[in-house]
Amino acid sequence: MIANLGLAALWLAAALAALQLVAGALALGGRGQDFAGIVRPVAVIQGLLAAAAMIALVVLFCQTDLSVKLVASNSHSSKPLLYKFAGSWGNHEGSMLLWVTIMGLAGGFVALVERRLPERTMLATLAGQAFVSLGFYAFLLLASNPFERLDPVPVEGMGLNPLLQDPGLAFHPPTLYIGYVGLSIAFSFAIGALITREVGPAFARAMRPWVLGSWIFLTLGITAGSYWAYYELGWGGWWFWDPVENASLMPWLAATALLHSASVLASRNALRAWTVMLGVVAFSMSMVGTFLVRSGILTSVHAFAVDPTRGSFILALLAINIGAALVLFGLRAASVTEGEQFAVTSREGALVFNNVMLTGALGIVLVGTLYPLLAESMGQKVSVGPPYFNPATAMFVVPMLAVLAVGPLLRWRRDRLTRIRREVAVAAGLLLGGLAVMVIKGVPLLPMLGLALAGMLAVASLLPLRGRKLRTVKLPLWGMVAAHFGVAVALFGMACDSAFTVERLVAARVGDKVAVGPWQLTLKSIQPIAGPNWTALEAGIEASYQGAAPDLLKPQARQFWTPYQSTNESALDTRWNGQLYVVLGEQAGDGRWQLRLWWKPFVPLIWYGGILIALGGVLALLGRVVSDLRRIIARDKIAWRRERQGR
């Protein structure tokens, strides 16, 4: 019953998306106000219907309704409720339904609240949003129906991949998806503005909160995913340049560039065509990521489906959406009039540098991610990993971060470095001093650059606050400072992890003592324990930092039985200056237990930095929304007064 309702809601939502597209196009083509009036309400109802379908699926999963094929093949009655709930998007069909739900809701939200743009641009934007949604509805309904039924009904489900049975599943995918799909709004705004040729500061101001919002969620989603991989996989690494990770990094790089260029367009009316282009590129990268992850051409915990028809379907969607957007851009870019001028040494100049470097890094990641696929289609199997990605992205990121130290201090339009020579000298001194110390200590090149840049940025990111009354500093400026400081924090954590990590791999008997870095560990016990749908061996390890009172760590080797699979649950001991990471391995033939131990100085700063960056986004967004609201209220007041006087 619920499954039928969900499917009906989904079909209805798809029909409304078609209506939204047709009505929007007709109204744009000048067929009168009759159609223009219905576009906004239709967009809202479409989003609500998609959400209803998603809720239906979540209910089916929570009830473990095994007559639904998706539930039967991905869930199990003995699974904890949290994973029944979150498991509804831990599979191909469910995750695509989550995608269209967010897309529909985001479109509805825009239709409901966005009133600053000219009505024609809004119509074009909502029609564009409907066009993109329609493709994904078709994909869902024709190639991956989440509500497909089973007859006869199986007695038990097949269970969820144990690697996904972690609280992270409840948080990481929805967050990342809001980020991915939120960028579709920027895409549709870009399309709308191209169709009506209304590219200007108003367009950038309307688009900016949506980009900022998506970017915040992307940042949080990537940060959470990185930490999840770090503790769940038991490999001690936090970023593997896995294609799936790259799929989330590419939209983030594009959105970061877009965020900065949109601020140039909003404040200075420059970089017009470029900002529109980035709006198209950012969501295109989201779709490329979906294609990579969902088509089954890659294998990882994220690639649920290995079904060639689905791959071709997504590829076709990708080609249509990106192709159409690029053609439109090509046709209209020349008629987007050029914006205001600026000198090379100016805030705009620094932001252009930021954009070019981010785009370069994006290119590096894209090429490295797609290359194995191209090579394989020519019959050669290759994999591309950190030896390529680390130095190649650093070539772009290092100069960008160096400019980041002074860019925010420059004035708009035209400036001279001599005006801020003191600040430049401080930054350069910190950078060179840091490098000198590191050369003496013999740190490898990339971590050395990372540490020196992090030290410089931590100070330089605070310089824009210098000489201001802190109580009068506006929220967006606080946001910028927090985000840039967060970059320094995260960079420091990354560089420390790769420069100073101590790793040990030992085979130990109960009672043995092991040292790793400043830690003394004692293997106290190995005990069997049982969970709701797994059994495990749990080690009791006493860990003492430089002779202090020991903490008890309990890493587990878990054995799940639906599906039958084992996982390692690492144990972490976090101090202010780093993290001890312990993994329990197998028992060797002679009765000793394998232990893999890491002491990772300052590694948690990577994720704290990520959170700070996102917090910066939140502050900036709050600042923008508050000032927009104030403006709207002020305008309404004036209108109301006029009306009263007129009476």
């Binding site: 100049g349 590096i364 290359y371 470095l417 993994v583």
Partner: protein
């Protein structure tokens, strides 16, 4: 960015967009060239034992080796954490050494992909092992194994 002290004038209106486009193009072409160069030297190629026998990779070049762990070949060194085994594909055999915790479904007679380097003595020194995780997660290279090997892998891991 311009040198300190230089008073940079706003560039002539007509030319600025052209210059921006050129800079962006130059950066993208630079990125592409850099990527192509780095890929040629850093991409790690996939080998099966027969390839290693006929045309071995240069020593110290990162590559991947895929095949079946031969039954009866798995040994653990005295340190308890270093393992040795032989990877074969029916045509050739390559001894492999690995120090670390093996993936959960790594066992004799089942498929494996080892990441590492071929040592000068002909032993492949792996720094990472990838095994089949479950029915839905197979290292991509394993998907290309012969039907017989694939069948064996599936039987083994069921």
């Amino acid at each position: 960015m311009s040198q300190p002290g230089a008073t940079s004038q706003p560039v002539k209106a007509k030319h600025q967009r052209l210059i921006l486009v050129l800079i962006a193009l130059a950066a993208l072409i630079g990125a592409a060239l850099l990527a192509a160069w780095a890929l040629r030297s850093q991409a790690s190629y996939f080998y099966v034992p027969a390839d290693i026998a006929s045309n071995p990779p240069e020593a110290d070049r990162a590559v991947r080796l895929g095949g079946m762990v031969e039954a009866g070949s798995l040994k653990t060194n005295a340190d308890g954490v270093t393992i040795r085994f032989v990877v074969g594909d029916g045509k050739a055999r390559v001894p492999v050494q690995f120090k670390g915790i093996v993936p959960d479904l790594f066992k004799e007679g089942s498929g494996v992909v080892a990441e590492g380097k071929l040592g000068r003595d002909g032993t492949f020194v792996a720094n990472n092992l990838l095994a089949k995780h479950d029915e839905k997660y197979v290292p991509r290279e394993m998907a290309g194994m012969s039907a017989d090997q694939a069948r064996k892998t599936v039987e083994e891991t069921r």
